[in-house]
């Protein structure tokens, strides 16, 4: 009897332990590399390095409450960085999503040829690391090495000011678009492939052409994918760093505080003000979460309204 009872007793217990075992690696990694550092950053943001008296005293860490947050929120350069991000985002986000949607729709039409090749070709730039991409494009922007400026000079039109004035925003957005379209296209394309073929069949029976099918059926059905890629793009915009930081040595138009993350990097590693950088990071992270939540709320409410 006992030999048959024991396994029966153990089985339920094992079932209770198993889920924890399976999730443990993810939870431990998340706590160790996400929650703990975030908590440390928040704690650090309430501290500051201060010095006592003498000419070259030693810095000690003291508690300063919300002083760092006040400094961050009243820093006009930090705010100006968000202004520059907005200009960049207005160019980069719609173009990235628009092109991604367009390519996805084109690849999804039955008449399209070379689908595999097209998909891979559009996706490949995403596999190029951001810094490498920025360097590659940087060489194509600098007047003496730019093939585009070479052509315009030959035509007597002069050098294209890629790295000066308003052109800089377009040049930076271009790098992001080049790298980002492929990734977003794959998400939208995957979503298109999951639409059942019967819907198209009935639309064709009703006399709809490919363009009508694309605009009236496909686009509305991939809206959730568009929302997802839109939010990703927005977050990516707020975290813009590697492109301007890589191009910085090539032009004096990009300051050390050009975008918020560059200010954070400078404070943390350039001017030895880690607490201030932690406060600015917290502001940026909270702001990013808020913006994402608000956008998702608005979009979801609209969609619910339409469905009703």
């Amino acid at each position: 009897m006992s030999t048959t009872l024991q396994p029966a007793r153990r089985r339920p217990r094992r079932r209770q332990v198993a889920p924890y075992l399976f999730t443990a690696p993810a939870v431990i990694l998340y706590v160790a590399f996400m929650l703990v550092p975030v908590g440390y950053a928040v704690w650090l943001s309430t501290r500051a390095y201060r010095i006592e008296g003498a000419l070259l005293g030693r810095k000690t860490e003291v508690f300063v409450g919300l002083d760092n947050y006040v400094a961050v929120l009243t820093n006009p350069e930090f705010a100006a960085g968000f202004g520059r991000l907005a200009v960049y985002g207005v160019i980069a986000v719609p173009l990235t999503l628009g092109l991604a949607l367009l390519f996805a729709l084109v690849l999804d039409t039955p008449a399209a040829r070379l689908k595999r090749f097209g998909r891979t070709a559009i996706f490949i730039p995403y596999a190029v690391p951001g810094v490498v991409a920025a360097l590659l494009w940087g060489f194509m922007y600098l007047p003496s090495t730019s093939p585009f400026s070479y052509v315009t000079r030959a035509l007597g039109l002069g050098t294209i000011p890629f790295l000066d004035g308003p052109g800089l925003f377009g040049s930076l957005a271009n790098i992001a678009i080049w790298g980002g379209v492929g990734f977003n296209m794959i998400i939208i394309y995957t979503s298109l492939r999951s639409i059942p073929g019967e819907i198209y069949e009935s639309a064709r029976l009703d006399g709809a052409g490919e363009v009508q099918i694309a605009l009236r059926i496909k686009v509305p059905l991939v809206v959730p994918a568009l929302v997802l890629t839109g939010v990703f793009s927005l977050i990516g915009t707020l975290q813009l760093y590697s492109e301007p930081a890589t191009l910085q040595p090539m032009t004096s138009a990009i300051s050390n505080t050009w975008v918020p993350l560059m200010t954070i990097y400078r404070d943390a590693f350039g001017t030895d003000d880690l607490p201030q950088a932690a406060a600015a990071s917290t502001v940026l992270a909270v702001g990013t979460v808020l913006v994402s939540v608000v956008i998702l709320r608005i979009v979801n409410r609209k969609r619910m309204g339409v469905e009703r």
Partner: protein, 429 residues
């Protein structure tokens, strides 16, 4: 536009502080000691090999943590994490900020006996309130490095004063509109600090028990006005140095000079080796005709860090490299540095000139002359902040066509505000 974790930005700052740096030296008290050593000059490996072969009990492990700015940033981060290397090369400009952050160890007792190998002014670069925090390694007396052949070809005399520099710039432009005498962009903080010092400015000074900041003092503002005029008249460029753009001009011979310091030849050689033989070096132009004073631009010292478990051994290496005949030979031959010690500078005079200007036999004699005339400079505890604000403000002034002196004033204000906030006593209002 890449997908990234939502809160990664907050996490990055914190986790980098925890993860960066490599282990500090650890040694068994019986066996040989291993010291970690951070340095960036080319040829450092040969120096370390030489030492290691001669000193089996004190082995040095070299890492290149990037150039001056980068290396100091990493050193500070590693020090906060408790695993800085035993020895690190540090630029004079960042040494005070590192002392304030408690990175270098006071080594007065270990290195006091080599003080005589250095001039008082050089030794003062690493001594604060009587405490020595490093052994000076190399210095950068300011000089004008120029294309001798092109100046001759265009019939333009080499300028000895800044007024002549303006005339030369105009003459160059008239003779060949595609050619420019020099580029002096906002990123050349060290250059502007140097020429302001040469003009009598004192960007930082100690006034009794207080700091005094003079980035916007009268002498410095006049320097700002002078270079602003050159730039607005199109006589100099203000584009960044050593970009592909700049290097193309250097190679093509359309960038005629680099007002900088005696270390410039090896930098130019690295981007334009084919132009060797066309260059020469002369003392930097003067503000007042007949003056001989110049400032330093660049230069570094070897420090022992607080994290070191073997400060005595580390200091021994630092004095060997910088104050011994053997060490100075290596500095000159392997690292192509201009030594900080008087001994090294004397030795240099019998050395061949840099390969960029093999014809200039008096290169090191001229360097020694300039070096003997350098004005001492005091760097403040927040030079990095000053540099960052200066770059941004001057860049803005150039783009918007506003007065350059406004950028100097803005830098002054930011530096004073930062020093006050941190708790330094500052005499500026």
């Amino acid at each position: 536009m890449r997908m990234r974790p939502l809160v990664a930005c907050a996490a990055t700052v914190a986790s980098l502080a925890v993860l960066s740096g490599c282990g500090a030296a650890s040694a068994d008290p019986e066996g040989p000691v291993t010291l970690e050593y951070w340095a960036w000059p080319a040829g450092s490996k040969a120096v370390v090999d030489e030492w290691n072969a001669a000193n089996p009990d004190i082995q040095i492990k070299l890492s290149d943590a990037g150039g001056g700015d980068e290396s100091s940033q990493k050193l500070l981060t590693a020090s906060r994490a408790g695993n800085a290397p035993d020895l690190a090369l540090v630029e004079y400009t960042t040494l005070p900020s590192l002392i304030v952050a408690d990175v270098p160890l006071e080594i007065t007792d270990y290195v006091g006996d080599v003080q005589d190998a250095f001039t008082e002014g050089t030794w003062a670069q690493t001594t604060f309130d009587g405490a020595v925090f490093g052994v000076p390694q190399d210095v950068g007396p300011m000089a004008l490095v120029f294309r001798e052949d092109r100046f001759e070809e265009l019939g333009v005399p080499v300028p000895t004063t800044w007024e002549e520099f303006r005339e030369a710039a105009a003459a160059v432009q008239e003779a060949d509109p595609d050619t420019v005498i020099a580029s002096l962009p906002p990123t050349e903080f060290g250059f502007f600090a140097g020429v302001a010092t040469q003009a009598g400015g004192q960007w930082w000074s100690v006034d009794g028990e207080e700091w005094s900041v003079g980035i916007a003092d009268e002498a410095s503002l006049e320097v700002a006005d002078y270079f602003e005029e050159l730039a607005t008249e199109g006589l100099i460029q203000t584009e960044p140095l050593l970009t592909p753009e700049y290097n193309a001009m250097v190679n093509a011979g359309t960038m005629l000079s680099w007002p900088s310091a005696v270390w410039a030849p090896s930098v130019i050689e690295s981007v334009a080796p084919d132009t060797a033989g066309s260059w020469a070096m002369a003392p930097l132009p003067q503000w007042t005709p007949g003056d001989t004073a110049v400032a330093y631009q660049g230069g570094s010292a070897l420090v022992v860090t607080k994290n070191s478990e073997h400060p005595e051994e580390a200091a021994k290496f630092a004095t060997w490299l910088n104050a011994s005949e053997e060490g100075n030979t290596l500095l000159l031959d392997e690292q192509s540095l201009y030594p900080a010690s008087s001994l090294g500078q004397e030795m240099a005079e019998s050395n061949d000139p840099p390969t960029l200007m093999p014809q200039q036999d008096d290169f090191y004699a001229v360097s020694a002359d300039i070096s003997a005339q350098t004005v001492p400079v005091t760097w403040g505890p927040n030079v990095n902040l000053a540099k960052s604000v200066f770059e941004d403000e001057l860049g803005k002034a150039i783009r918007n066509g506003t007065p350059w002196r406004d950028a100097f004033v803005a830098t002054q204000d930011a530096v004073v505000a930062d020093m006050k906030e941190t708790g330094f006593a500052v005499s500026n209002g």
